[in-house]
C-alpha cells in the first residue's frame, strides 16, 4: 500500500519535471532584453551636439506627430548599416529624427556625418553614456519611436533592418 503511494507521488513528480523541461526545450535561452513599450519618456536636459548649449527635451519634442530617437556613434559598425534607413526615414514629414551621439569623439562624429549625410534634425551629446541609461537604453545602436504624447511606442535594440524599417513606416502612417 505504501509502495503504491510512493509510486504515485514519484509518478506525479516525474511528470511535473518532464513537462517543465519539455516545455522549456522549445524556449530560446538566449537573453532578450525586456522591452517596455507604452512608457512615457521622462523629461531630460541634454547638450546640443553643434552649439554645446543645454536644451530641454520639451523644446525638442514639440512640433511633430512622431519622433525617432536614435543612439549612434561613429565607432559603431552596425550604425553604418542602419544609416541608409535613417536617411530614408528623414523624408517622412510626420517624423522628426533626434540623434544621440553616444561616447564619441566630436571630430569623428562630424566626419561620420559628413561622409554618410546627416539624417537628424537634432543631435544631442552623450559623452559619458548617462543620458542613454536614463532613457533606458542598452547600447548602440538603439532606436525609440515616441508619439506626440511622449509615449514610447516602439524600441528597437540593434540596427534598423528591412523588417523594422517597414514597421516604423506602418506606425507613422
Amino acid at each position: 500500500m505504501k509502495n503504491k503511494y510512493l509510486l504515485i507521488i514519484f509518478g506525479i513528480f516525474f511528470l511535473f519535471c518532464f513537462t517543465v523541461f519539455f516545455k522549456s526545450l522549445k524556449n530560446s535561452n538566449a537573453y532578450k532584453p525586456e522591452i517596455i513599450n507604452g512608457k512615457i519618456l521622462s523629461p531630460f536636459v541634454a547638450i546640443d551636439f553643434y552649439s554645446n548649449k543645454k536644451i530641454l527635451s520639451e523644446d525638442i519634442f514639440n512640433d511633430r506627430d512622431f519622433y525617432l530617437i536614435n543612439i549612434w556613434a561613429s565607432w559603431c559598425m552596425p550604425c553604418r548599416a542602419e544609416h541608409n534607413y535613417l536617411i530614408e526615414l528623414k523624408k517622412q514629414n510626420s517624423l522628426k529624427l533626434v540623434g544621440i551621439n553616444y561616447k564619441d569623439q566630436i571630430e569623428n562624429a562630424k566626419r561620420f556625418l559628413n561622409e554618410f549625410e546627416n539624417p537628424y534634425s537634432k543631435i544631442l551629446k552623450d559623452k559619458n553614456g548617462t543620458l542613454s541609461i536614463k532613457l533606458g537604453a542598452y547600447g548602440v545602436p538603439e532606436t525609440f519611436i515616441i508619439n506626440k504624447k511622449k509615449k514610447i511606442i516602439k524600441k528597437i535594440i540593434g540596427p534598423i533592418n528591412e523588417k523594422t524599417y517597414n514597421e516604423i513606416l506602418k506606425i507613422i502612417k
Binding site: P33, E34, I36, K39, K103, N128, G129, T130, S132, I133, K134, L135, G136, Y138, G139
Partner: protein, 122 residues
C-alpha cells in the same frame, strides 16, 4: 589651549566627512553589486567594465548624490529596464512562486523526516 581645541574640531570635522564618504561608497557598491549588467553574461555592474556598466555606475552615483535612497534607485532602474535588472528579485505576483517554493519544500522535507523519526521511535 585654543589651538588644541581648534585642531580637535577640525580633526572631528574631517573625520566626519571621510566617514560619510565611506558610507556612501559602501552603499553605492552594495547597489552596484545588485544591478545586473544587461549586456554582459553573469556579471553585475560592479564587476563589469563594459560601456553599459560604466555609464550605469555614473548614473547611480548621480542619483545618490541627488539624495535618492537605495530603494528609489531600484525603483528608477526597474522603471527603465524591468525586474531583470536587479539580482535580488522583489516579492510580487511574478516571483511569489520563486520565494515560496523553497520554503514549502523545506517544510515538506522536514515533515517527512519527522515522520520517519516518529516511526523509528515507535
Amino acid at each position: 589651549m585654543k589651538i588644541i581645541k581648534f585642531t580637535l574640531i577640525i580633526f572631528i570635522f574631517l573625520n566626519n566627512i571621510s566617514f560619510s564618504d565611506e558610507k556612501n561608497i559602501l552603499l553605492e557598491n552594495k547597489i552596484l553589486k545588485n544591478i545586473r549588467c544587461l549586456i554582459c553574461q553573469g556579471q553585475s555592474v560592479y564587476d563589469s567594465q563594459s560601456d553599459f556598466a560604466e555609464s550605469m555606475k555614473l548614473v547611480v552615483r548621480e542619483k545618490l548624490d541627488l539624495g535618492m535612497s537605495e530603494k528609489d534607485v531600484y525603483i528608477f532602474l526597474k522603471n527603465q529596464y524591468g525586474d531583470w535588472i536587479l539580482y535580488d528579485p522583489e516579492f510580487n505576483n511574478k516571483t511569489y512562486f520563486l520565494w515560496v517554493f523553497p520554503i514549502l519544500i523545506f517544510f515538506i522535507g522536514g515533515g517527512i523526516i519527522l515522520k520517519k523519526f516518529v516511526v523509528l521511535k515507535k
